[in-house]
Amino acid sequence: MLRRTLLATASAALMALAAPAMAQDEPLKIGFIYVGPVGDGGWTYQHDQGRLAIEAEYGDRVETTFIESVPEGADAERALTQLALAGNDIIFATSFGFMDPVMNVAAKFPDIKFEHATGYKRAENVATYDARFYEGRAVIGTIAGRMTETNKIGYIGSFPIPEVIQGINSSFIHARKVNPEVEMRVVWAYSWFDPAKEAEAASALLAEGVDVILQHTDSTAPLAQAQQAGAIGFGQASDMAAFAPSPRVASIIDDWSPYYIKRVGAMLDGTWESGASWAGIGDGEVVIGEITEAVPAEVKAEAEALRDAIGAGEYHPFTGPLNKADGTAWLAEGETAKDEDLQSMNFYVEGITAQIPQ
């Protein structure tokens, strides 16, 4: 208890010092904590690109720092406190597992703004943000459905959580739309990043006759396996351009820069407010990487048309009629899925025969 009081006093003192300093056009201080190393080539790398975009946009008006490879859990609280005590005005926590540490630290530093990626807990000074990755999945699902010759497409899942299940459903719906014969095989790797395991998952799918692999894990191992077997795949989180033009025929890129620039801009004008952001292709947060020449021109055009329709808000990837895998009705003709339903999605749509691990 004593330590907490001390901390609060220390922070209050710092705030007192920081307040007049801010008035004299000191740069806005922005802190980031990352779950992985900046060099992971995927998730964390993309967040760091967003940080660099803030610096490029606002120059001397901002000052950014980051702490990388912060484990999810108690240690995150230490890292967040460290950033708060260092006088940061806004702190971005870029992994789901930082949720409770963010809430705890935010309660102790009410004057500092926090932004938590992919979480759902909010407060006066805690906002959340996420990206509609399922929109990108609809586009690559279309390509997968057109490109498969064996009519079997495979999906390497990380963990059976709503975000991944949205991705599986979205890609399957759109693959089946262009190819009614298509079947979806799902393998769970139970990891976001484990190259050896991902490679094994990919070879298991390939041995089952799958010739298009979609991945929800962050390493290039599945692409390497696909290449050896003459199959194709897609870049995940970052572009994975080293594997273009084939096996990597397109990619889903997370681009956090527009959101980061917008939120920091709001801090600078003093209009920052807590809220939940869930942006997609339309806001430039989910980007489809270059579709290579390995994809026939008409398929490329079809995929790009779908991308643009989603981006313009003319089409929602979850539009009825859609049934759940158990045959019960989900969305009626023309009805689109509500965000709350998507955020708690725990079922496959009709046509996927696999079971979601419980």
């Binding site: 395991k197 089952e208 290449q227 080293a242």
Partner: protein, 295 residues
């Protein structure tokens, strides 16, 4: 429905990194040294091998460099534990942390580039996989059928006695540690050069720790190491295949299987040692203890 041959071919590839690392660690432990730095040596080999393969365009040169790099970094551990008599557990853990950090630092320029493709060997299986399989009888033969293997085991069982007989305990252990490092390096390079074809920080993802567990599981024998590596690799491959085939098997149950098997084997081993005088090779007598020739 699932072709057993294809599962088998997948599993021998999948278990190759841990097979190499565990065979190396087996020799190290039979010499009486416990090197917990396997993960650090593997990641060093993964980076050095990848860098060499990328720069030269020759994957086999990559494996050679990986072996050298693994051996070199293992000598750091050897210097600490054999010369300065530092605690082996602490030094091994330090080696893991050091290797991971070092590889992350020097790996920056190699992010995002791709390794040259490996030529495919007989039966569509990588040459390095074959090499791993050949190393099993070689290590067994060395340990059990050669004079140097006997000396190495003697040093591991009782370093005082080996020293009294005039054998150089320190030199034997140094050689064993370097061999273990080289093998771990090749195992790590298999992940970066043959499996992923790219360098990524932390890409060995705990394989070194599984290799350490397999040495215990093997009861300190080379065939046991092969059985352990295949069991771990096999169960992983099988559960992924079952999932890919759409068979409704509880994934958690299968993921548990290798660890369950380890417990059963350990119980069986200790029971055998309790009830039989003529027990097989168990943990080397001097495992993990430092030797200092004072007397």
């Amino acid at each position: 429905m699932i072709d057993p041959l294809s599962v088998f071919l997948l599993l021998i590839s999948a278990s190759t990194p841990i097979l190499f690392a565990a065979l190396g660690e087996l020799v190290v432990e039979r010499a009486g040294v416990l090197n917990l730095g396997v993960e650090g040596m593997m990641i060093t080999g993964a980076l050095a091998g990848f860098a060499a393969a990328y720069a030269s365009g020759n994957p086999f040169l990559g494996f050679l460099v990986a072996a050298l790099a693994g051996a070199t970094i293992s000598l750091l551990f050897a210097a600490l534990t054999q010369v300065f008599l530092a605690n082996q557990v602490a030094s091994g853990l330090a080696l893991t942390l050091f290797g991971l950090g070092l590889a992350a630092m020097f790996g920056k320029p190699f992010e995002g580039v791709k390794a040259p493709a490996m030529p495919i060997g007989p039966l569509r299986i990588n040459w390095i996989v074959w090499l791993g399989l050949v190393m099993v009888p070689v290590v067994w033969w060395f340990l059990n059928r050669t004079r140097r293997g006997l000396i190495l085991r003697g040093v591991g069982e009782n370093h005082e006695a080996a020293h009294a007989l005039g054998y150089d305990v320190r030199l034997t252990r140094l050689a064993a540690i370097a061999f273990g490092g080289a093998m771990a390096g090749v195992g790590g390079a298999f992940i970066s050069i043959a499996t992923v074809l790219q360098w990524t920080e932390g890409m060995t993802a705990g394989a070194g720790w599984i290799a350490l567990a397999i040495v215990v599981f093997s009861n300190w024998t080379a065939p046991g190491v092969l059985a352990g590596a295949w069991l771990f690799g096999g169960v992983t491959v099988l559960q992924l295949r079952l999932q890919a085939a759409g068979v409704a098997v509880p994934v958690q149950l299968l993921s548990m299987a290798p660890y369950l098997a380890t417990i059963i084997v350990l119980v069986a081993i200790s029971a055998r040692q309790k009830y039989s005088r003529r027990a097989g090779a168990a943990a080397p007598g001097s495992l993990g203890t430092n030797f200092h020739a004072l007397r």
